[in-house]
């Protein structure tokens, strides 16, 4: 199953490394990353495969959200379907 991870917040050193480490620790495979810094805001979007994820979806979402809070970032994970449904006919 594929999901989208979004990371939004102030730019800082090591954001990508940190999020990727967390995902790797939980068995999540990163398929694609795009990131930009708009004004001082850092925005990263990752397409990930959670088929091999070792924890359930809710737990993974919690882990990411809490880590985001510690670093002043808004980190979400959502199933890809919701974006497909909303933006593609």
């Amino acid at each position: 199953m594929k999901a989208i991870v979004t990371v939004i917040g102030r730019d800082a050193i090591g954001i990508i490394a940190n999020v990727c480490t967390l995902l790797a620790q939980n068995g999540v495979n990163v398929l694609d990353i795009s990131q930009t810094v708009m004004r001082e805001y850092f925005t990263m979007i990752m397409l990930v495969d959670i088929t091999g994820c070792m924890v359930n979806f809710s737990t993974l979402a919690d882990i990411l959200r809490k880590d985001g809070q510690e670093h002043g970032l808004d980190i979400r994970i959502q199933r890809e379907d919701i974006f497909e449904a909303m933006h593609r006919i």
């Binding site: 795009s34 979806f57 979400r76 959502q78 909303m86 933006h87």
Partner: protein, 449 residues
Amino acid sequence: MITTNEILETIEMISQQHLDIRTITMGVSLRDCGHPDVKVCCDKIYDKITRRAEKLVKTGEDIEREFGIPIVNKRVSVTPIAIACEACETEDYVPFARTLDRAAKTVGVNFIGGFSALVQKGFTQGDRKLIRAIPEALTVTERVCSSVNVGSTRAGINMDAVALMGKTVQRTAALSQGLGCAKLVVFCNAVEDNPFMAGAFHGVGEPECVINVGVSGPGVVHSALKECAGQPLDVAAEVIKKTAFRVTRMGELVAQEASSRLGVPFGIVDLSLAPTPAVGDSVADILEELGLESVGAPGTTAALAMLNDAVKKGGVMASSNVGGLSGAFIPVSEDAGMIRAASAGRLTIEKLEAMTCVCSVGLDMIALPGDTTAETISAIIADEAAIGMINQKTTAVRVIPVPGKTVGDVVDFGGLLGRAPVMAVNPASPAVFIRRGGRIPAPVNSLKN
């Protein structure tokens, strides 16, 4: 692959613009729960609801987490109790309401709808017993919602029922300090698959069990309209259509997912724009964004007609099955913009009545002075029912005569029910008209002027 902008747009809709799934409502048939003995009947009802809806809340929460979209309410609707329990040899229907309340608490839903009767053409014994029980039922229970259908385009209006419901609303208000009336809807042309409370019930033409979903999103429409300020109204209508499409697609996705996880057939997505008291989640704000200084100003009905139609046009293509009420809701107490306009005297009951001609659903969550007579309440119901009957649409009345309050006072119902300024009612008496009773015959459906 979805683009970055599309992803960010979706996230902004959810986090900034209050986009949510307003309700996942499981309809459960109670037609097999009738029994002459009250105790047995109540046990059957309780067992069936708690068995069918056991995983409803958990499933809703799981979907919420995985898709990252809030699902605000999980609810249950049941076969109108007047039908389901008619075989029961009892005069008192309050125990059925208590049973529904208990079942709702067990499965963790915040409202359960279906303490209802359909009397558009006349009463059965069960209908009379149910209506008699409404005031007490809505006072002693917390989560039970009640509705009574008093008219339809095919049957006309049962004016005896209208007269009775005026008294019932008044009695409910007296017993419950007004709050019970927030859980009581009087309908014309009630729909059988409405997922929204307080008017939800599981119609007799519905399957054994079904999942209906109600979407929302006034804030999203409002934000989208800000982008086309000053443009002609057909441009605005296009923007509303596109936004409604996206919102409804999300509803469809959630509905299909909930249906497959629960193993229950998917019924409909209801395309309603349902406001909440939260700032930025208001239908009134949309109308004002279209260029009205305040909702209630001349032009409000036209703006609302366009909004309502555009929402339907966008939503219909987004879902395989659209149903329920599907339209913009204009509840006064649940919409920050409506509260503002009503408090400032810019929105009157008469204007709200005109607005109900072009949108769903009716005079909704309006606080009336405590001394409003039963006949006046009945006459308000009759007016709304007439609008529904003639225009072949659903209309409803959910008014709250608040004991001890008068025009200008503000009443707080708490939570999603919001707060409302008590609105003025025309003091001229309709009492003689209402006391006539009888029926208003079904209307002719041609010669449409």
